[in-house]
Structure formats: structure tokens, C-alpha cells
């Protein structure tokens, strides 16, 4: 029996790009189910999803991408899915990579598969400040785990059922980046990276605008430390 896959699309004010993301995903991966988690949008995000026949779970207020993903995990677990994939609505995550991303989890080689921009040379060039942050958190993760994860900020990931079952209760609230990876490895989950190419976002606002402030690095460092201090299960 093949694994049931749910593609979770967290969306906050993404009416402009959501439709195309859903269509593309359907086209390249007709065997997976879709779920849009509308994270308190003020635009027609939910309507766009419904118009495409995709189920929508709508937060009354904006919780951030972590909260949206957590809702998706819970839905996936309750509806008996084996794998959950985060796919951003803005078009940065190319659904063409879904089969490659899913493969390690499907084959039981890993619990979490990360669509990574740095495993091989892919075209993506982030702004300098962002790149600095990425390098720093890759360093933090390496320091904490002793293993190297090249792309700690990539949201394009596939999560196995056991990971989703745990994460629906305990999950970083806003940005599921370095602290989550540390937490997962400490709990004995196996992570692999799969090379992907990311595209420019099509429209809408990045979830990560707030991350440019001082708060995000601070929060991520502290959360990483806490995740590292946590006793392995």
C-alpha cells in the first residue's frame, strides 16, 4: 500500500499566488491530497482554495507559519495521512520536487526530508542579511548536533507520521527552523536533505518579514539552546 500524502499549504493573504500553486501541485502530483491552512487572512485566500476544491482550515487570527503547520499536522494525523509536506503558497516551493522530497520518507530512510538549497549548487541567492542568518543557524545546528544540515531555514519539508503526531502538541510557535531541527534530532528522528531549487515568490508578503528584526535571531538562538538542553527522549 502506498503512503497517503497530505500537502499542507500555509497561507496568509496569498490570494494572488495560491491558485497557481494548487494547480501546479495537482498537475505534478495528482496522487497527493491538499490542505490549505488559511492563517487568518484578510483577503480571499480561503475562497481561492475552495474554488479549487481544496479543503480549508481557517485560523480566526494569524498564528504564524509554525501554528499553521501545526494545524496541518493535526489534520493529517486525524485523517490518517502517513506523510505531511509543507508547501508554501507563494510559489517559492516548486511542486516538481515533491516526488524527490517524499522519496526518503516514503522509503522509510528518514522521518523528515528537507528540501535544501545548498546540498548542490542551486540558483537561489538570498539577501545578505538573510544569508548571514542562515550561515549562523547552520552553525548553531552543527554545534548542537554534531551533524551538518545545510539549509536550516528551508520550509519545504516532508514529515513522517510519527513526527507529525509529536509536533501537533509541541512545536515552535512562529518559525520552525533551527530549534525544530535540533529538537527533532534530539528526539531520535532521522533527517535527510534533498537538493531543490527555490523560486522567487510570486506575490504576497513573506512570513519572514518580522524575522528581519532583532527578535528572530534572538528567539531562534534561545529556542535552539533550549531544544539542545532538552533531554533526548
Amino acid at each position: 500500500m502506498s503512503a497517503r500524502v497530505l500537502v499542507i499549504v500555509p497561507a496568509h493573504d496569498e490570494e494572488a499566488s495560491l491558485g497557481r500553486t494548487l494547480e501546479e501541485t495537482r498537475a505534478v502530483a495528482p496522487d497527493v491530497d491538499l490542505l490549505v491552512v488559511d492563517d487568518g487572512s484578510h483577503d480571499a485566500t480561503s475562497d481561492v482554495a475552495r474554488a479549487h476544491g481544496v479543503p480549508v482550515v481557517r485560523h480566526a487570527v494569524n498564528l504564524g507559519v509554525g501554528g499553521a503547520l501545526q494545524t496541518g499536522f493535526r489534520y493529517a494525523v486525524e485523517h490518517g495521512y502517513d506523510i505531511g509536506v509543507q508547501l508554501d503558497a507563494d510559489g517559492q516551493h516548486d511542486p516538481a520536487f515533491l516526488p524527490a522530497l517524499l522519496a526518503p520518507v516514503r522509503e522509510g530512510r528518514a522521518d523528515v526530508s528537507i528540501g535544501s538549497r545548498y546540498v548542490s549548487r542551486s540558483g537561489y541567492r538570498a539577501p545578505v542579511a538573510r544569508r548571514l542568518g542562515m550561515v549562523m543557524f547552520a552553525g548553531v545546528v552543527r554545534l548542537a548536533l554534531g551533524t551538518r544540515i545545510h539549509d536550516t531555514t528551508s520550509g519545504f519539508r516532508a514529515y513522517g507520521r510519527r513526527v507529525m503526531a509529536q509536533c501537533q502538541h509541541d512545536f515552535p510557535k512562529d518559525f520552525p527552523d533551527a530549534p525544530l531541527l535540533i529538537q527533532l534530532v534530539r528526539r531520535g528522528f532521522r533527517l535527510v536533505e534533498v537538493p531543490v531549487t527555490m523560486r522567487e515568490r510570486r506575490a504576497g508578503q513573506s512570513f519572514y518579514t518580522l524575522g528581519k528584526s532583532i527578535y528572530y535571531p534572538y528567539k531562534n538562538l534561545l529556542a535552539s539552546l533550549m531544544a539542545w538542553l532538552q533531554r533526548p527522549a
Binding site: R26, V37, D47, R50, A51, H52, G53, P55, V56, V57, R58, H59, A60, V61, L63, G67, Q70, T71, R74, Y75, E78, K173
Partner: protein, 126 residues
Amino acid sequence: MEFLSKTQIIAALGAVGMAVYVLDLVRRRRLSEEYSLLWLVSSVVIALLGFSTPLLRWITNALGILGESSTVFAFGLAFSTAMLLYMSIKLSRLGMENHELTRELALLRHELEVRTAPPVRPGEGA
């Protein structure tokens, strides 16, 4: 009764007023018993320090504080800090509960929509 300064009297009376106000808030159900505790304890302690100069002197000497007024301020500040930290903890918990409820509500609402309305098939469009 001996007072060291006018400020001591003002602090003492102010603390008593505060305690009475806190109790009244509880009576009118504007403040829960839980939150009243720290307020009440801090008002009573400040009032005690204000009305009992020997006690104030003794604590000041025992802690090696230079002036009696500093002792009163130190206690006030300690209580304020405790209160703020307590509030931050409470706020964090409220935030987490809120987070949880938002997600729960979203899933329940989705469940309700699925049960009450026939699903829209792709292509039919809204």
C-alpha cells in the same frame, strides 16, 4: 507612634489605601482572588514598614541599607518585579492557550463545514 518623615506617613497611608482598594476590587469581582494575593501582600508589607518604625529600622540595619526610605523602595521594587514576572508568565500561558484554541476552533469549524455542506468539486468553482 514615631515617624521618621512625612514620606513615611504618606507611604503607610497609601499602602493601606491600596490594600482597601484591592479588597474592594475583589469584592466587586473586578479582580480575581489569585491576582489579588501579591498586591495585598505587598500593600500590607509596605504598610507595616510605614507604621512600625522599629521594624523598619531593624530591617534596614539587618540588611545594611543606608537609609530607611531605601528599604521601603527596595521592598516596593521587589514586589513590582515579582508582579511583572508573574504577569509575563501568565501572559505567555494565555498566549499558548489562545494559540491552541485558535487551532482547535479552525479544525472544528472545518469539520462542521464538511458535515453540513456538500463538498465543492474541482472545476465547479465558487
